[in-house]
């Protein structure tokens, strides 16, 4: 309801771009695709941006949209970004596309929902956006009409988003920091722009907007928790080396952890395709993020730890071994893992409930080592005890988890697609 009030107050803040008639498509633009160099760079950026993830329905044609995207506010359906004239973006010109990417406003002048991460894409250079468009133009057009979003009033009113933009959105292309190296700047550009890492790895406010004062300190995404990318030794990347990050983005795993939950998909569909130079640039940038003060975790009672330890021995030690050390080159360690000690245990709980599969990548491992889910095997209280134990054993330290929270997450995951 706060949002409605905000919308009423801030209509004046709406962006002032005039709602002129959409520009007509230039004949020949479709006939002669952009230079091959642009197309190739565009394809690369589309991978980094993981556009296909949202713009492809399960089992659907890539980029034809119609994927249901659950948000805390309702379900949004992604749009068709193939060059179909009627249902896709076939009649968009480069300027239309740039406005959507840079300002979050579509060809018809509607404000888009920030499920489309334009607050991050706005950092992209005009050249890169043009390259993305050049690549999308090469796709086969697919006829796939966009479904109406399932949002409650007044969020279904696009004008509300204009207000949202006014309050929370700052457009602007990435500006290099001259005090930093070119490598650092490239990393920052990728993380803040096409990679839109902060879309998941940041705190959001009640209106779903990223807290730009404290980005990358971890956030909730798709029923999981994307851990902090900042320098915390326990729950961030503080203990990771640059090489750990490079390897993780390339293969979904390193000696410290393995990607699980939504990040496993991100690695498989996106980051594994990044060049090593870009992965290293990202690592250099992320390693420069400040180290926040460690929040002290509350005491965990002995009864919980004893019950959790028993469940660990009975269910987990076969692969993660007795001390949570995992098996180097096979099963990820839980000891000293930032994913395990993250501010929220949701990803860990999700893995225990639903299982996980280590990403399969081109340069990494073909194996896809998998873990079964224990949803059928352990009840909510047991999973709470087990999670709390894993988060506080072998030198780990993190907040305890209660059974009610596991129950809620179990219900949510059961309802969500693929759950």
């Amino acid at each position: 309801m706060g949002l409605v009030l905000a919308a009423a107050l801030c209509t004046a803040c709406t962006h002032d771009r005039d709602l002129a008639a959409p520009s007509a498509i230039k004949l020949g633009e479709r006939m002669s695709p952009g230079p091959y160099g642009d197309i190739a760079r565009g394809r690369y950026l589309v991978r980094i941006g993981d556009c296909a993830a949202c713009h492809t329905a399960p089992g659907g044609t890539p980029f034809a949209g119609d994927r249901a995207i659950p948000t805390p506010f309702g379900t949004i359906y992604s749009s068709n970004i193939t060059p179909d004239m009627e249902t896709g973006i076939g009649d968009w010109n480069d300027a239309d596309f740039y406005r959507a990417m840079h300002e979050g406003i579509d060809r018809e002048g509607n404000h888009l929902y920030p499920a489309f991460p334009y607050p991050w894409y706005t950092r992209l250079s005009r050249d890169d956006v043009r390259a993305i468009k050049a690549y999308l133009d090469t796709l086969a057009p697919v006829r796939q009409a966009k479904r109406h979003n399932e949002l409650p009033w007044p969020l279904d009113q696009r004008g509300v988003m204009a207000a949202w933009d006014g309050m929370y959105f700052q457009d602007g292309t990435y500006r290099s920091d001259p005090k930093r190296s070119a490598q650092w700047n490239r990393g920052a550009y990728l993380v803040q722009g096409a990679g839109h890492c902060g879309a998941c790895h940041s705190k959001r406010n009640f209106a779903g907007a990223t807290d730009m004062d404290d980005p990358f300190s971890g956030g909730y995404a798709e029923n999981a928790f994307a851990p902090s990318l900042a320098g915390g030794a326990r729950d961030g990347l503080g203990s990771w080396s640059e090489q750990d990050i490079v390897q993780y983005l390339g293969t979904g795993r390193n000696d410290r952890t393995a990607a699980a939950g939504p990040m496993a998909e991100v690695v498989e569909q996106s980051t594994q395709y990044m060049s090593e130079a870009d992965r290293r640039a990202i690592a250099v940038y992320l390693k420069s993020l400040p180290t926040p003060k460690e929040a002290s975790a509350g005491r965990v009672d002995h009864g919980t730890l004893d019950r959790g330890a028993a469940l660990y021995v009975d269910n987990c030690a076969g692969c993660h071994l007795a001390q949570g050390q995992g098996e180097l080159g096979a099963f990820p360690p839980l000891r000293q893992s930032s994913a395990v000690q993250a501010r929220s245990a949701d990803t860990l709980i999700g893995v225990i409930l639903q299982g996980a599969r280590i990403p399969v990548t081109k340069s990494g491992d073909p194996t896809g080592l998998a873990m079964q889910g224990f949803a059928d095997h352990l009840d909510d209280a047991q999973i709470a005890d087990l999670t709390t134990y894993i988060r506080n054993a072998w030198g780990n330290q993190a907040e305890a988890v209660d059974a009610g929270h596991v129950e809620d997450l179990r219900k949510t995951l059961r309802k969500s697609p693929g759950g």
Partner: protein, 248 residues
């Protein structure tokens, strides 16, 4: 009938129900047992609280397994360990129906090395044999097997084992071997199947249950293994089964 009954009986937690079904457990409802999967519903006495066995048949099984594995100073016997429940559930399920066996005729008899050649399923073997044994006991002792004294019961079991009792076309030794095999199974299988209650069988021998990691312990020659007993459904399998059987 069995389908509807099953739906009604297996309780409110579909996840746990699925797991137990994966195990092949016919899930008991509280302490009464559903009749799901009985062989065509034939011969199940309406009054029987069991999955397959009639009340008198269950009396026989309880008495017989109590002699095969008696309660003594070493711990509970087969009856206290839930073996009759185990056998009843097994006979009610695919095993009792010989679902995976080759059961095409003709049915000539062969030599021992050719193995089992009877047309009876395990469930039918029990039904046929128990009727024959109780008839013999009534004739011989004026009581069914379950009411005999321990010495008399042992004598009957020995007669069965030695192939000396006439059970028509069913060699008594065949039945004895099956009963003894199933009794050991019930005593030593995972408690998820209804027997080995409170790990009675595993406590007797010192098997800790299915555990997946002995990396540290395998080299500690001669040392006792320290972890407590565990089942496929946890350290308190009886509680888990009771939970699964709650009627929602």
């Amino acid at each position: 009938m069995s389908k509807a009954r099953e739906e009604a009986d297996v309780g409110h937690d579909p996840a746990r129900r699925e797991f137990l079904r994966l195990l092949g457990v016919a899930v008991p409802a509280g302490m009464t047992l559903c009749a799901c999967g009985g062989p065509g519903g034939s011969g199940v006495h309406a009054a029987s609280p069991n999955a397959f066995l009639a009340t008198e048949e269950m009396d026989f099984i309880r008495a017989a397994v109590a002699r095969l594995i008696p309660a003594d100073a070493l711990g509970p016997g087969a009856d206290q360990a839930g073996v009759p429940t185990f056998i009843d559930l097994q006979l009610a399920g695919p095993y009792g129906r010989a679902e995976r066996w080759y059961m095409q005729g003709p049915w000539p008899s062969g030599v021992d090395s050719q193995g089992y050649q009877l047309r009876y399923t395990p469930a039918q073997v029990y039904r046929h044999a128990i009727a024959g044994i109780d008839a013999y006991c009534r004739k011989q002792y004026q009581q069914p097997f379950a009411k005999l004294g321990a010495g008399q019961q042992d004598a009957v079991l020995h007669a069965l084992e030695d192939g000396k009792m006439d059970l028509g076309d069913l060699p008594s030794k065949t039945f004895f071997n099956l009963l003894w095999q199933n009794t050991q199974e019930g005593y030593l299988a995972d408690p998820a199947y209804g027997g080995n209650r409170d790990f009675a069988g595993w406590k007797l021998i010192g098997f800790p249950g299915p555990r997946y990691n002995y990396v540290r312990e395998i080299g500690q020659f001669g040392q006792p293994y320290q972890q407590p007993f565990v089942s496929l459904i946890g350290r308190a399998p009886t509680a888990a089964l009771a939970h699964a059987g709650d009627v929602g």
